[in-house]
Symmetry: C2
Subunit: 328 residues, 2 copies
Amino acid sequence: MPVTLQDIATRVGVSPSTVSRALNGQGRMKEDTRKYIKSIAEEMGYVPNFLAQSLHDTKTRMIGVVITSVADPFTSQLIEGIEQVADSADYTLFLGASKFDIEKEIDIILKFYQRRVDGIIVQTSHLQTIADPRIETIDVPIVFINNESISNAHNVTIDSRAEAKKAVDYLFLIGHRKIGFVNPPTKRHSNERRLLGYQDAHEAQGQIVNPTHIFRMPMLSDYETGREALNQILDTDVTAVFCYDDMIALGLMNACRERGIHVPDDLSVVGFDDIAQASQFYPTLTTIHQPALELGRSAMTLIQDEPDEFVNHLLECELIVRDSTKPL
Amino acid sequence: MPVTLQDIATRVGVSPSTVSRALNGQGRMKEDTRKYIKSIAEEMGYVPNFLAQSLHDTKTRMIGVVITSVADPFTSQLIEGIEQVADSADYTLFLGASKFDIEKEIDIILKFYQRRVDGIIVQTSHLQTIADPRIETIDVPIVFINNESISNAHNVTIDSRAEAKKAVDYLFLIGHRKIGFVNPPTKRHSNERRLLGYQDAHEAQGQIVNPTHIFRMPMLSDYETGREALNQILDTDVTAVFCYDDMIALGLMNACRERGIHVPDDLSVVGFDDIAQASQFYPTLTTIHQPALELGRSAMTLIQDEPDEFVNHLLECELIVRDSTKPL
DNA sequence: TATACTTGAGCAAACGATTGTTCAGATTCT
DNA sequence: AGAATCTGAACAATCGTTTGCTCAAGTATA
C-alpha cells in the first residue's frame, strides 16, 4: 500500500497534521523539523493521495472528454488541442468514446460526474435531441464542441452552414454549375447544416438545387461512403462534388482512380476538415480547414476560466485550395 | 454542490448509513423505507461521489494510459483496443501524451499514481534507459506496450526484429538483392531492433549489408522523413526499400510520384504497422500488420487479471502484400 | 518574579461514503 | 406476564488529507 501521512508521522514521531504542514509549507514550524520530515517523506517515497485531497477541497483537476471515436483523425487533433492546454494547467484528462451512440454518451458523462471532474468537454454531442433529467442536474461546467446551440452550456463551434457555402461558392467561382453533395445517412445536425450551406450557395447564384445532385449514402465508414458514392455520381452530369468530410472525399478520389476517372480533370472534389491526409493524398485535396487544435484549446480554456455566463465561441475556417479542384 | 448521502438523510429524516444501505441493498431494512429513500434519492438527482467510495475501498477503477502522441494513427488503434476492454469492465481511462520525452513520461506516470489509478499502461516507454527511484516505488501494476523487456513490469510487445526480418525476407524472396532501410534518427529500441531484423535477413541470404543502403534520417516528422529519404535513395542502386514505419513509406511514395519514379515498377516499398492509410493510399502499401487493437486489448486485460508473476506477451504480426512491391 | 506574548505542535472536525457494532422497540415463545 | 428473539435503524470508526483551534513550553517584557 502507498505511504500515508500517518506512516510518516509514526516514523518521525509527530502527528499527521504536522507532517502535512511540513510538506506544504503552511503554519509555524521549526525549520529543522520541516527539513527532517521532508527528507523522511522523500525517503519513504511519499506521494500524496489525490483522492483524499480532492475529497477535502472539492477540486479534482480532472476533466472528462467525450469524443465520438479515437479512430477519427479529426478527433485526434481535437484531443491534441485539449491536451496542450490541460497539460500546461496541470489538469488530467479522462477519455471516453461515445461511438455516436447517445445512450453511451450519457453513460460516459454520468461516469465522469461520479468521478467529480471539474469540467466536461463533449464533441459533437447527440444530446440536443433529448433533455435527459440525469444530465440536467449535473452542476459541472460542460463545453460542447461542434454541437450547435444547446441551452445551459458553453459552446465552441464552427459555422458549418457558412463554411459549407464557402466551399460551394468556390466551385461556382471557378466555373462549375452542376455541383454534387455527398453526405452520410446520419441525421447529424452538422450534416443538415452543411446541406443548408450547399443550398445557400446555389441560392446566391440564383440556382435551384437539383435533388439528384444530393447523394445521401447508406450507413458506412466515411471512406467507404466516398467510394460507394462514385457510382451514383457517374449517373449524373455533375462536374464537381462537395463532400461532407475529407475521408469521404478521399474514398471518392480513390474510387475515381480505380475507375480511370481523373481528379480534377474529369471531376473536381472538395472536402471538409483538412485532416492530415488531405495534403498527403494524391491529388492533394481542396478542403475547408477546420481549426481542430484551436477548437480543443478553446474548449479547455473555457473550462479553466469558468465564465459566469454561457459562452458561444464561433471559430472561423479557411478554404484551402489544392490540386483536387480545377476551373471548368 | 452535488447531492450527498447526508442531504438525503436530512430530507428523509434518517441517518446517512441508512440511506447508504437503502441504496445498495445491504442489511436489514423495512421495504417501505428502502423504496421511499430510493425514490427521494432519485428525485434529488443523487450521484454517489466516486472519490469518497474509492477512498474507502482503495479501488478507483481508473487506468492511466501513457501514449507517445494522439496524432499518431497507430496510437489511435491502440487506445481503441484499450478502450474496448476498459469499457466493458467499467474502467475509466486517463490519457497522457509523453511526446517521446522521458521527463514528461515520468511526470505523467507520477500524476496517475497520485490519482491512485488501479493500473498504468505505457506505450513505447523510454524508461528502459534510467531506473528512476520515483518510479520504482510505485506499487501499481504497469504494463508496457512495445517496450522490450523492462524488469519489474508486464510487457505486451511484438518482436520487432523478427517481424522486420519477415518484411526483408519477402523482398529477397521476390528477387530483390539491393534493399534499403529508411529509419528515423531516434535511438529507439524498436528502431535498433528493426535494423537488426534487416541485417538478419541479409545474413540468412549470405549477404553482407551495404552501409550506404541504411538511410538514417535527421529528426523530422515520419512523413517528411520518407519524403526526404528519396534523394539519398536515388544516389544508390537499391531496387527496394524497407521503411521503419508506414508514414515514412507513405511520404517516400509521395515523393516518388512527384519525381516521376513509379512504385512498384521503379522501386518496391515496404512499410511497418499497417495503419489505416496503408490500404487507402495509392498504390496500396505492402506492410507488416501490427495488431494494434490486440496489443491494446491484451494490455488492458492483463491489468484486469493482475497476474502474480510478470507476464511477457509476444504478439505475432502478419505480412500484408499489396501493390507497392513487385518481383524484380 | 509575575505577566504577556510567541512559537511549535497536537487535537479534532470535515470532506462523502461504507460497514461492524450497538441498541431500543416490537414480536414471539414458554 | 416475563424472558428470549428478531427487526429496523442509529452510532461510530475508517479511508487520507487539510486546517481552525487549542495548549504547553519558551521567550520577552514590565
